[in-house]
Amino acid sequence: MKRNVLHVVGPLLGLIGVALFFALLTGSPERYLSMTNLRVVLAQTVIVAIGAIGMTMIIISAGIDLSVGAVIALTSVVTALALRGGYAPWLALAAGVVCGGIIGAINGLAITTLRVVPFIATLGMLGVARGVAKYAANQQTVNVPPTWINELAVTFPSRPWMVFAPGVWLTVLLAAAMTIMLRNTIFGRRVFAIGSNEAAVRACGINVERAKVAIYTAAGLFFGLAGVTQMSRLRQGDPTVAVGVELDVIAAVVIGGGSLSGGEGSIPGAMIGALIMSLLRNGCQQMGWPNYVQEIIIGIIIVLAVALDRYRAARTAEVT
């Protein structure tokens, strides 16, 4: 377990570094590090962070899911349609989450029964989910009546004692629960084991296929929840939203110590990864830098983070 702590130290230092960098650069650390700005940043992080919880599981098992952005769009539309249809908010929320789970299950089945590699299976789903979202929304945005769902990811919660948006607290709770799940349950061990050496797991008589379907389904539930949050932020279902978000989500997991070859990754790390990217965006905005500067910086950060990780891995391999 000491190892897990060590894994988070690197990303954490990166996070502190980015925060200090912009605090000094903006010339007014008290504003950049203020409670208000923290609220803004956290509210902006929620969608990617929730997606990264699911993606961490998939990446640890040596898989990948490229359909996240499209699934977020589809589930945001599904939630909005349910609300507009007069269903109770919690039912609409459940509809979005379950829809994400179903798509995850289909991904998992395509990977295990059709024997299509995850990259391709989920690349296909990226197109399918986006298309279905546009069809379901009739190629328009879906407006919704005001409910408590719209409060999920607001910057300033209506109940001031909450300090941060309810979605932020939900994310923290889910991240903690899933961290414990990955660490302390048999299912969690199998996620790591499959990513570490799938052949060995199979030789031990474990049903790898069933475990993979479970992994993609569980992750799909999180992508569905991210979709609900997306709808909450826009206060409408939008079939064209969240294009390319899967790359942000993958980047968060990788910056947080996840390895695309499997066996490694942590949810706390991925949360920090998501925060690093939000802080960078926010900092660039405060500096008045154009969008393209953010994109360049984030691109470089991703490569540097992984290069550092590889360097560290090579050093430890040298010892053994």
């Binding site: 061990r189 030789a203 008589g205 474990i206 049903n207 066996g263």
Partner: protein, 479 residues
């Protein structure tokens, strides 16, 4: 008491019969040695027992009940554990998690039971919370054995468990096997090292060409008799070619070469026009030696000096030998594309002409130089790999298993070509598992055993039995 009986087991893969009638008995409290040359069918037999393959024919009985596992999980349920030749651990998981993979108890119980298992093994100092991938090789093996014990295996299949262990670890392993025997576990132990087998096993079965050809008590047979039973076939097909004149011009000189873990010491000189054969068991480090000489493997000591260019043929044809989707011409000219290009532009006509010349010389059967290599038969694919070396026109050729898995006709063509190349003044190293081939084509032979290469001696000074004895670390003292 556990009783495992096998009767008339057969298994074919395509055109080759891997197993062709194996009878085999082992009972609880016994260590049974399974002996045979590379390719005799030992690993296939283990894979059938552990449920990876189903036999085509024959029957297995466990305690007089028919035993027919459909998958590895079934074998585990019956209490049959397979410790693979290549380690099968999850390097990222902890020692305890690896031991209980598939049968996870609660975390605390896992820790205490893992500690107890390791302790029984005499490796109590291994921390069950440590990452398995960080352990030394010998301890990783211990973890695998503990995994087999964790679910109370009745039959333990051990495939070459000592090939990567040092002597101290071997002794520790043997003490553990002794404990298992006392507990009534039946152990099937595959090894090439006859002296080790005598230490640990009572009875033996020899496999040759997929058949069980000899069985009995180890104490009642000599090593010579066992080796004769293993290599009987090898004696017949040997035919010596006339030795071409080998010059005194040394092109490749290897001195005390070492590479981490696999190669401890190798010394030889290779002269222009000479074919040096390297014999040895799989896992003895012979492929690693070749790779170290070519520069694909980091060396940890010794020297290699060479004069002239060098070419390498990998034993892994599909993985390292060919670009399967590309054409014959592209593959043949790959190492020296410059010869059919002008200012970086490939002259297709010239490339085709050069490829056709190589194809004619090696009698490659293909529709034309533009046909994709993956459409060719294994034998023709292998000729294409050799063709690439021909086209490259290197002075020194390192050939690792140049005739692996190909038909007899192609094999004859390839050996004829190797002999021809030597006559043209190339210096050639041939690694092969198949002794008759080495005897037929080589001027000198050296034998690799556990990372050490013996002195290279003229082929006439060797016999197949002597090569085998050296390979299994018998009479010959390694140089």
């Amino acid at each position: 008491m556990t009783q495992l009986r096998l009767r008339g087991i057969r298994k074919r893969f395509g055109a080759t019969a891997a197993l062709d009638g194996v009878d085999f008995d082992v009972s609880g409290g016994e260590v049974h040695a399974l002996i045979g040359e590379n390719g005799a069918g030992k690993s296939t037999l283990m894979n059938i027992l552990s449920g990876t393959f189903a036999p085509d024919d024959g029957a297995m009985f466990l305690d007089d009940v028919p035993y027919a596992p459909a998958r590895p999980a079934d074998a585990r349920r019956y209490g049959i554990a397979h410790i693979h030749q290549e380690l099968a651990l999850c390097p990222h998981l902890s020692v305890a998690e690896n031991i209980f993979l598939g049968i996870e108890p609660s975390r605390r119980e896992m820790h205490t039971r893992a500690t107890r298992l390791l302790d029984e093994f005499g490796r109590g100092e291994v921390d069950p919370a440590r990452r398995a991938g960080d352990l030394p090789l010998a301890d990783q093996q211990v973890v695998e054995i503990c995994r087999a014990l964790a679910f109370d295996a009745r039959v333990l299949l051990m495939d070459e468990p000592t090939s990567s262990l040092q002597r101290g670890d071997v002794e520790r392993l043997f003490r553990l096997i002794g404990k298992l025997r006392e507990r009534g576990v039946a152990v099937i132990y595959i090894s090439h090292f006859l002296e080790e087998l005598r230490e640990i096993a009572e009875r033996y079965t020899v496999l040759r060409d997929g058949r069980s050809v000899s069985a009995g008590a180890l104490a009642a047979v000599s090593n010579e008799e066992l080796i004769a039973a293993m290599v009987a076939r090898s004696m017949e097909t040997i035919e010596r070619e006339q030795i071409p004149a080998v010059s005194e011009d040394v092109l490749l000189s290897v001195r005390n070469l070492a590479a981490p873990h696999r190669v401890h010491s190798a010394t030889f000189d290779l002269r222009r026009g000479e074919i040096l054969g390297i014999a040895g068991l799989i896992g003895s480090g012979r492929s690693e030696l070749i790779r170290a000489i070519f520069g694909l493997l980091r060396t940890s000591g010794g020297e290699v000096s060479r004069r002239g260019t060098i070419g390498y043929l990998s034993e892994d044809r599909k993985g390292e030998g060919l670009a399967l989707q590309l054409s014959v011409a592209d593959n043949v000219t790959m190492s020296r594309l410059r010869t059919c290009a002008r200012a970086g532009w490939i002259d297709l006509r010239r490339q085709n002409a050069q490829a056709e010349e190589v194809m004619r010389r090696l009698r490659v059967k293909a529709a034309g130089p533009r046909s994709a290599v993956m459409r060719l038969s294994g034998g023709n694919q292998q000729k294409v790999v050799l063709g690439r070396l021909l086209h490259q026109d290197a002075d020194i050729l390192l050939l690792d298993e140049p005739t692996r898995g190909i038909d007899v006709g192609s094999k004859a063509d390839i050996f004829a070509e190797i002999a021809q190349l030597a006559r043209e003044g190339k210096a050639i190293v041939v690694v092969s598992s198949y002794l008759p081939d080495l005897f037929a084509v080589c001027d000198r032979i050296a034998v690799m055993c556990r990372g050490r290469l013996s002195e290279a001696k003229a082929t006439a000074e060797w016999t197949p039995d002597l090569v085998m004895q050296t390979a299994i670390g018998g009479s010959e003292k390694a140089a």
